[in-house]
């Protein structure tokens, strides 16, 4: 007998028969079908409107504009670019600038964050209060405001190049930015990188060997210092004696500006400063939470074993704290990457400023430019998220 119902003896057999439309699977399918239809309908309606609106406004669509001449200049770039270059090239310049300022910011914010986080937990009242004051001040104001403050109120009123602050006669701080000497390198500069990579490989080998040795004999090696030496010393030696470094180009004042040297434009400086402070404050709180998450008993046990304060922090507290710190820290890094888009406000040519700003204004192709900009951020974010999930799975406490 299929289905439920009651047999002739009046005994129930199985669940009562349900009407078709309340059966769970049927209902689920119907709901999803309706939702899908509504979403697709909205999408089709929107696209139809967009096509109509674009035709009406005489705006081209498609990605052909990427090969056209851009015609605008970009004042900070890592690769060759001129107004004669294409929009595609401008896109790459913008993306590289976003990555540059993000990496600079991440490096500085991590250092500052650890200082602030550990400082806020210091037994020293003055240090702890100062760190807390910095964190609470910076965290509770919009980043945009801080950026404008550094750019307009601090960097813009700096003296002209003629009266620039001289740092030892080789670097100069003026309202044109920070100008530093530029290393002149020969074509064989790749040898420095190769030496560093070889050194890193050797350091990795050393670390693996030292870990094995510690498991077998219990003796430890100063792996950190040795690794640092292995990475830096060969590279430095190549730089010094390999005939790679030909000299330094020291900036000199010529007319109204400096000639030669490397200039960090004030837009970059302001952005870097603001991102570092803002993210550093948040990372500081993350670090503090991570350290506080390690039970006090761990510290006491480590000290009972005879470890000094530095050993307790390095060998017991931090490894356990990192498990708690790293996921929120990654999201802070991602926030920093996304926050770097505020560059558009002060005119630093980042991804958003170059592409969703200037290019959009010149071509009018809003959908393509904003879409491509979003894709760049989305790709980086998703890649880092995926890497983090992998790392998290590896770091999670193994339950035996």
């Amino acid at each position: 007998m299929a289905g439920g119902g009651v047999d002739d003896r009046g005994v129930s057999q199985g669940p009562p028969r349900e009407p078709v439309w309340t059966a769970r699977r049927v209902r689920a399918l119907a709901i999803q079908g309706v939702i899908l239809a509504v979403l697709l309908g909205l999408l089709a309606w929107g696209i139809d409107n967009a096509i109509h609106n674009l035709q009406k406004a005489g705006i081209a669509s498609g990605f052909r504009f990427l090969g056209n001449r851009a015609g605008f200049d970009i004042n900070f770039r890592l690769i060759d670019y001129s107004p004669a270059s294409t929009y595609g090239r401008a896109f790459v310049v913008g993306a590289l600038n976003t990555l540059t300022v993000s990496l600079l910011g991440i490096a500085a914010a991590t250092v500052l964050g650890f200082l602030l986080g550990v400082g806020r937990l210091s037994r020293n009242w003055l240090v702890a209060r100062t760190a807390a004051g910095v964190i609470e001040t910076v965290r509770n104001m919009p980043l945009l405001l801080q950026l404008l403050f550094w750019y307009t109120a601090v960097l813009a009123p700096l003296p002209r190049p003629r009266d620039a602050f001289s740092l030892g006669g080789v670097a100069f701080l003026s309202n044109r930015g920070l100008t530093v000497p530029r290393p002149l390198t020969a074509d064989t500069v790749w040898m420095v990188g190769a030496a560093a990579v070889l050194g890193a490989a050797a350091a990795l080998g050393l670390a693996l060997w030292a870990a094995r040795r510690m498991r077998l004999t219990g003796r430890r090696l100063p792996v950190g210092w040795a690794g640092l030496a292995l990475v830096t010393l060969p590279a430095a030696a190549t730089l010094a004696w390999g005939g790679v470094l030909l000299g330094w180009e020291v900036p000199v004042l010529k007319g109204f500006n400096f000639a030669g040297g490397l200039t960090l434009v004030p837009e970059l400086l302001a952005l870097w400063l603001a991102l570092t402070l803002y993210s550093g404050a948040f990372i500081g709180e993350t670090v503090r939470a991570g350290i506080l998450s390690v039970p006090q008993g761990q510290v006491e046990a480590a000290r009972a074993l005879g470890l000094g304060p530095a050993g307790v922090l390095r060998l017991v507290v931090l490894p356990q704290a990192m498990r708690v710190i790293i996921p929120p820290m990654t999201s802070q890094y991602l926030n920093l990457l996304k926050n770097s888009s505020l560059a558009v406000v002060i005119g630093f040519p980042d991804m958003v400023s170059v592409f969703s700003g200037t290019t959009l204004n010149q071509t009018g192709q809003a959908i393509e430019t904003i879409g491509m900009t979003m894709l760049v951020y989305l790709a980086i974010s998703l890649a880092i998220s995926a890497a983090m999930n992998l790392y998290n799975r590896k770091m999670a406490i193994v339950r035996r």
Binding site: A28, A50, L126, P142, L145, T152, K338, L342, V352
Partner: protein, 480 residues
């Protein structure tokens, strides 16, 4: 022989004849313990003292001692030779204060903003949980003061309206037999009565203020509340009104229309008023949207789940500026020709969507923290799926994530500053305009410091409130 039980109770150590512990107090002891307990600590203390000694005096001189407070023109901040005086020129902030608060809202109409703000403060005071002591002080001091301020700023009809709004929760929650008897009439009769009242209110509203729909809606909600619902507490009734009546009233009053209230287009809104408007609308929209998205993300239906995951991860993966660009530049493209959307509304849509995605992740964290036994127990009591969610799971989940929700709100309030990029004159947009006024060049620092202070007070206040709420809820309930 078993001794009497109370002899087994151990005597607390403090009650035995031990000498009292040595009390180490006094400023010197404190400094030894907290500033100079080791060579490193001493070095750090000295370094920081030196740092403060170098930094603090010039800052203090700039902000207070050498600053110019009096006057009403730029000349007040110039010395005899026509150069800028050394200290801060707070006259600049003073002159621009009105614009920084209200934007270009007409001066004669600013009382409307004040009235809405005061009503909101009082309504929030009634809804949000406060410490009892704070509540008492607020009721004794705050309410009369606020009432007086309302009457003074708004005058006549608006004050009456606001007073009626504030009295309504008392009516809704009143324990009144006559009302209870009315509530037992047939549903049809009650619905007809409510609709009739709403229609009358709509007619009156259109004649008096040119706002028929707002008046009809308010009457509808009030009538439904009186005749259909029975609120146990004043707070519940106040929450009902805050969610359903306040936004409509505020909109009608701020936008205006009709003979009594001239229309103020949103292009004239600005300053702190606009910042708070965007922030509050964003908060009000992002919480329910975020809850829906979080539920959708945990749905069993693949289409719903994937749509929600896609939306959340997409929004969280891109900067807010691009979402605002999307809303301000691309949204009009996707709408039929001739359908213009207000610039402010576009920004609001962008802000709400953006923070909803972050809110969804916060709420999801709370949902995941509820043990499955709660759902099973509720289902075994015979509750349906919606009831399990609304009555058992969500209240617990939301309570766990209050700190996360407030954090998202704080982030949202700070992020509203980005609307300045798409050309709205919020607090930041206003100060940018003010500092680039050719008559007032050179006072950017003063402007930014002032605006920073305003934001700091708002955000820090919210953070402190969240902290106290968290602690109180934890002491109240042993769970979680």
């Amino acid at each position: 022989m078993i001794p009497p039980l109370r002899d087994h109770v151990p005597v607390p150590t403090s009650a035995r004849n031990l000498p009292p512990p040595v009390v180490r107090t006094g400023p010197w002891r404190w400094m030894r313990a907290n500033l100079f307990y080791s060579p490193w600590s001493t070095a750090a203390t000295l370094l920081f003292v030196a740092l403060f000694a170098v930094l603090a005096p010039p800052l203090l001189r700039w902000a207070v001692l050498d600053a110019t407070w009096a006057g009403g023109t730029r000349d007040a901040c110039l010395d005899a030779a026509g150069g800028l005086r050394p200290g801060a020129c707070w006259v600049f902030v003073k002159v621009r204060f009105g614009q920084l608060m209200y934007g270009f809202y007409p001066v004669a109409q600013r009382w409307r903003v004040d009235a809405v703000a005061l009503t909101l403060v009082l309504a929030l005071a009634a809804v949000l949980p406060w410490r009892p002591a704070v509540q008492r002080v607020a009721a004794l001091v705050g309410a009369p003061l606020a009432g007086a301020a309302l009457a003074w700023t708004a005058g006549g009809w608006t004050a009456a309206l606001a007073a009626a709004y504030l009295a309504a929760p008392l009516l809704l929650a009143a324990d009144c037999e006559a009302l209870d008897r009315v509530r037992q009439r047939s549903a049809l009769a009650r619905a007809a009565a409510v609709l009739a009242v709403a229609a009358a209110a709509g007619w009156a509203g259109s004649v008096l203020a040119g706002a028929p729909w707002a008046a009809a809606w308010c009457a509808l909600v009030l009538g439904a509340g009186v005749l259909g619902l029975r609120f146990r507490t004043v707070r519940a009734a106040a929450l009902y009104l805050l969610a359903l009546v306040f936004p409509v009233l505020a909109h009608a009053l701020l936008v205006g229309g009709g003979p009594a209230l001239p229309v103020v287009p949103t292009e004239q809104w600005g300053g702190l008023f606009l910042t708070l408007t965007i922030g509050l609308v964003g908060m009000g929209a992002s919480l329910p949207l975020g809850i829906l998205l979080a539920l959708g993300r945990r749905s069993e239906l693949p289409v719903v789940r994937l749509t929600c995951i896609g939306f959340i991860e997409f929004i969280r993966g891109v900067p807010m500026i691009t979402v605002l660009f999307l809303a301000s530049v691309m949204l009009p493209l996707f709408l039929p020709e001739g359908v213009g959307i207000d610039k402010l509304l576009r920004a609001l849509i962008g802000v709400a969507l953006f923070s909803a995605a972050y809110m969804a992740e916060v709420v999801r964290g709370g949902l995941q923290a509820i043990p499955p036994g709660q759902r099973e127990a509720a289902e075994s009591l015979g509750l349906g799926r919606a009831a399990v969610m609304a009555l058992v799971i969500l209240p617990q989940a939301l309570r766990i994530v209050i700190p996360g929700i407030v954090n998202t709100f704080i982030g949202l309030l700070k992020d509203t500053s980005l609307v300045a990029v798409i050309g709205l004159l919020d607090l930041i947009g206003m100060i940018k305009t003010a500092t680039s006024d050719p008559n007032w060049l050179g006072f950017a620092s003063e402007g930014y410091v002032f605006v920073g202070l305003v934001f700091w007070v708002l955000c820090y206040g919210m953070a402190r409130y969240s902290l106290s709420l968290e602690q109180r809820l934890r002491t109240g309930a042993p769970s979680s």
